[in-house]
């Protein structure tokens, strides 16, 4: 059975989706990620979807689910590298990926995660870059 590899980097989990997902793969990713968050006590999850040419409502829901599930396990999720065409399509479809933060690329995503996690230790800052 194919699986999407999940990499661990310090407090973060890193997922790069390189192939077009079919449904089983996506649901597997969802459960694997949640397991990993639990096991590694990760504080942040970064999902790179720059290679995805299609995000439909199912995939969007999986991303949203991962975001909400991680949230209640005390981890932030950032989706990075969305293609412009994908963003336009998602909006047209009516999906706004609520509960998931977004960033332009992996670098920015990392910065955003660090900022967010850093803000736990210090007094909470208002997060203007978030997507709520």
């Amino acid at each position: 059975m194919d699986r999407i590899p999940i990499l661990r980097m310090g407090h973060f989990l890193l997922v790069t989706i390189q192939i077009d997902l079919y449904d089983r793969l996506a649901t597997n990713l969802e459960s694997d990620l949640v397991q990993m968050v639990n096991k590694t006590e990760a504080k942040g999850v970064l999902i790179d979807i720059s290679a995805l040419s299609i995000v439909d409502s199912f995939m969007g829901r999986i991303l949203g689910n991962i975001g909400s599930m991680s949230k209640i396990m005390d981890a932030e999720t950032v989706v990075v590298g969305m293609q412009p065409a994908v963003a336009i399509t998602l909006i047209e479809l009516g999906l706004e990926l609520k509960g998931v933060h977004t960033a332009l690329n992996v670098e920015r995503g990392m910065e955003l995660l660090k900022e967010k996690i850093g803000s736990y230790d210090r007094e909470p800052e208002d997060d203007e870059d978030s997507t709520e």
Binding site: V79, P84, A85, A87, I88, T102, E128, D129
Partner: protein, 288 residues
Amino acid sequence: MKLDIAKGLQKRKNQLLEDWMSLQLADAGLREDLMSNEELREQSNELIEVLLNTISEKKLENIESADFDPVHEILSGISISRARQGFSPRETGIYVFSLKEALIKGLQEDYKDDPPALIEAILKISKLMDSLGVVTFETFIKGREEVILRQTDEISEISTPVIRVWEGILALPIIGTLDSARTQVVMENLLQQIVESGSTIAILDISGVPAVDSLVAQHLIKTVAATRLMGAECIISGIRPEIAQTVVHLGIDLSNIVTKATLASALKHAFSLLKLEVKKAQKEKAAI
């Protein structure tokens, strides 16, 4: 044995051309500004030569056949180029139909003594010329449509420039009405630029938008949402008092979008988001 229509006409080629030219030149609507007489003569000569070489007694029976393709081709070329040059449909029509007149005149001389054969020949020739006329108009309109399509593309390209005002800040002044096609172009340009320049803030300036109704507002909201999905923040600026009034009266909710009255204040807001400070230069050293 009756005379061959095609052969008779082929023999008269030069005379036909002269007749045709004089008919064209006699028309009041002659456009010497668009095409010189020499050019016109050359063009006409080419068409008449191809036409006369193509027609023969047998081929006239079936004007739809592929034998006439070269004629159609050359005629299409002429009418498309005329459409682009700005000839009116009337002028283009006269061009073809005056050829018919010239041809009929030629036939009249050929069949002076045989009225029934003359009628038959005229019928055949006018059927042919009518079908050529239809081809001319079809291609003429196609040429015009191409011009219109190209202009539409150009307008939508020109009207949505994306300007890089600062490192990480893009501005996009929108001028004119926003419809869904425009919005798509705007969105595409903006998102593409965001990716290319790695910007995190985009400012949409709508001071050039004449009116904001619920549809336009929806398009704006969509654009903002798409920008956020990409991981960038979007500020809408240039909200004139009238726009603010209509937005509130229509009950459009813009509360989860950052809006500013002017581009300047939007830029200020963007600076503060990027934690940048703009200061007056102190003597020599400039500080940003």
